[in-house]
């Protein structure tokens, strides 16, 4: 569905490329997390998916359409919704529901349909009660949920989250992740750029970037086998995974599947009762 073919991207005046020779294929319906330290190229990668940035070398294709083809770019942007880190830069009107309606209005959708879409989108980010609130009265986290509702109202097939949860509180982040997981279950292809490795344990696939290159690509269990490599790449594996490794070094036979509190307790408790 999304295909990066030998993609290199060089920002003007930069010493080294932000992306260098990236090959990546994301299939329809996949939920892929992209992690990496600041400057690893993960946001640059995300901005290539809807043609906000165009490769210096190589090609990015979305549903078979190259992003470098100007005639296709509008079609691509209708398929790919992208949410950024700072919600203040994404909200355009003064009232919550107007903001969510802004995208569908621009597509010329009939008012009744807009109403339905706005209501659904607000419900899925848990902000129904704020429909007629002034945007400037919202906190950072609330604004971000509105920005995401605005994208959902456009009914994209691919949702790109570029550190969209970075400014949310834990319950906001959990709600957002739940929302994204539900959208994914309904068939949405999701590319989630994040710094929070604990958010990635439920994804289908985790892509780890360092210095503009992909250094790991696999299921969460495969990727979190490499805690040393992750630490070397200035990433911090989830606390649960670090504890798993400490317990392993104390002799407890815990499997690579242990990524969450539940899984850790599941495997650890039987080991304890046999001591």
């Amino acid at each position: 569905m999304i295909r990066f073919d030998h993609v290199t991207y060089q920002y003007e005046k930069a010493f080294s490329p932000a992306l260098s020779d990236i090959n990546l294929e994301i299939r329809e319906g996949e939920f892929v997390a992209v992690v990496g330290h600041n400057g690893s190229g993960k946001s640059t990668l995300a901005k290539h998916v809807n043609g906000l940035l165009l490769p210096t070398e190589g090609t990015v294709t979305v549903c078979g359409m190259p992003t470098s083809n100007e005639d296709d770019i509008l079609k691509i942007r209708q398929k790919v919704g992208i949410a950024f880190q700072n919600p203040d830069n994404q909200l355009v009107t003064t009232v919550v529901e107007e903001d969510v309606a802004f995208g569908p209005e621009n597509l010329g959708i009939v008012p009744e349909e807009i109403r339905t879409r706005v209501d659904e989108a607000l419900a899925s980010v848990g902000m129904t009660a704020y429909a007629s609130t002034a945007v400037h009265h919202l906190s950072g986290g609330q604004k971000q949920r509105i920005a995401i509702a605005g994208i959902l109202a456009l009914k994209p097939q691919i949702l790109v989250l570029d550190e969209a949860s970075a400014m949310l509180d834990p319950s906001g982040r959990a709600d957002l992740l739940k929302t994204v997981e539900a959208l994914h279950k309904d068939g949405m292809t999701v590319l989630m750029v994040t710094q929070y490795m604990e958010e990635t344990t439920g994804c289908d696939r985790v892509v780890v970037m360092k210095g503009g290159k992909i250094i790991l690509d696999g299921t969460p269990a495969e990727v979190f086998k490499h805690t040393d490599l992750l630490k070397e790449s200035n990433l911090v594996p989830p606390e649960t995974v670090l504890l798993r490794d400490s317990l392993r070094s104390m002799g407890y036979a815990l499997s690579d599947q242990v990524l969450t509190a539940e899984q850790l307790a599941e495997e650890l408790c039987p080991l304890l009762s046999t001591i």
Binding site: P170, S246, A265
Partner: protein, 283 residues
């Protein structure tokens, strides 16, 4: 030496009329030397509260007294502002000078210190935050990376030698390495120069690993004020007000559900592994 908060109530106004209070009757004491973590759901009043600690918002009802200086007295505010340093969310947006040196020097210069002392303080503050003065002094703050910019902004506050350092989500938007650098800096400040740290954070893991005390705010009221152990073992109540618990606490809760009686006051990896070694001995 302490910050005493006594029946503090505060309401924002809209069109001249007071809105529902954002802070309701807060009374507690922040002792010098603490690493206080402040947690609360979005809109619980965390940011509004910390703005009262140096008089940025007036305490109309109730009092905030910093080392004996009552902030309701206008002539005391200047003294308190030299005691309480404030690092806002995304402080790098406030960088403005042409060079890092000039930016960090802005505060000390306003304090009318002499050039030698200013230079001394700027150099020290830059070293503290890990920005080598030789390399960074003459650079533009806008050429720095996100993490470096954040640290430059914090250096500007440190150069004023605050006794209490207040930080509103200092790690927001930083990558894991940047977050660890800031936390290490705060630990260093507290242990080496005895600076009291008051930090709003959404990361329960960071709070569990670093805070000596935790303040939980809920809809403007004090919900809990205790050690991290005694706060985080109340997982159910925290969940009800939209907060989570540290990863390690979650593991302890799961283990209890499976019949292993590990205390849920355990909230750090170190404590967990310690319990484990103890438990092994008993076995």
């Amino acid at each position: 030496m302490s910050i005493v908060i006594n029946h503090l109530t505060f309401a924002y106004t809209q069109g001249g009329k007071p809105l529902a209070p954002t802070l309701k009757d807060l009374s507690f004491t922040i002792e010098a030397g603490m690493f206080l973590g402040i947690i609360g759901h979005t809109g619980s009043g965390k940011s509004t509260f910390v703005k009262h600690l140096n008089g940025l918002l007036p305490s109309e009802k109730g009092a905030v007294v910093v080392d004996g200086h009552d902030l309701s007295q206008k002539n005391e505010r200047k003294t308190v502002r030299s005691l309480v340093g404030m690092v806002f969310q995304y402080p790098e947006y406030q960088l403005f000078a042409e060079t890092v040196y000039e930016d960090v020097a802005f505060g000390p210069r306003n304090m009318k210190l002499d050039e030698a002392e200013i230079k001394n303080r700027v150099t020290n503050a830059m070293q503290l935050v890990g920005l080598d003065p030789e390399r960074f002094s003459s650079r533009s703050p806008f050429e720095l990376s996100g993490g470096e910019r954040r640290r430059a902004a914090i250096a500007g506050v440190l150069a004023m030698h605050p006794k209490y350092l207040v930080l509103d989500e200092p790690m927001a938007g930083l990558d894991p390495l940047g977050r660890r650098e800031i936390l290490a800096l705060l630990e260093k400040l507290r242990t080496e120069s005895g600076c009291t740290i008051i930090m709003i954070s959404h990361s329960m893991d960071d709070i569990a690993n670093h805070a000596t005390n935790v303040l939980v705010l809920e809809k403007g009221s004090l919900f809990l004020y205790d050690t991290p152990q005694n706060v985080f073992c109340r997982a159910q109540e925290l969940q009800e007000i939209g907060l989570s618990v540290p990863s390690i606490t979650k593991i302890c809760i799961e283990m209890n559900e499976k019949g292993i009686r590990i205390p849920t006051t355990i909230c750090t990896e170190e404590a967990f592994l310690n319990w484990f070694r103890e438990d092994m001995r008993h076995a």
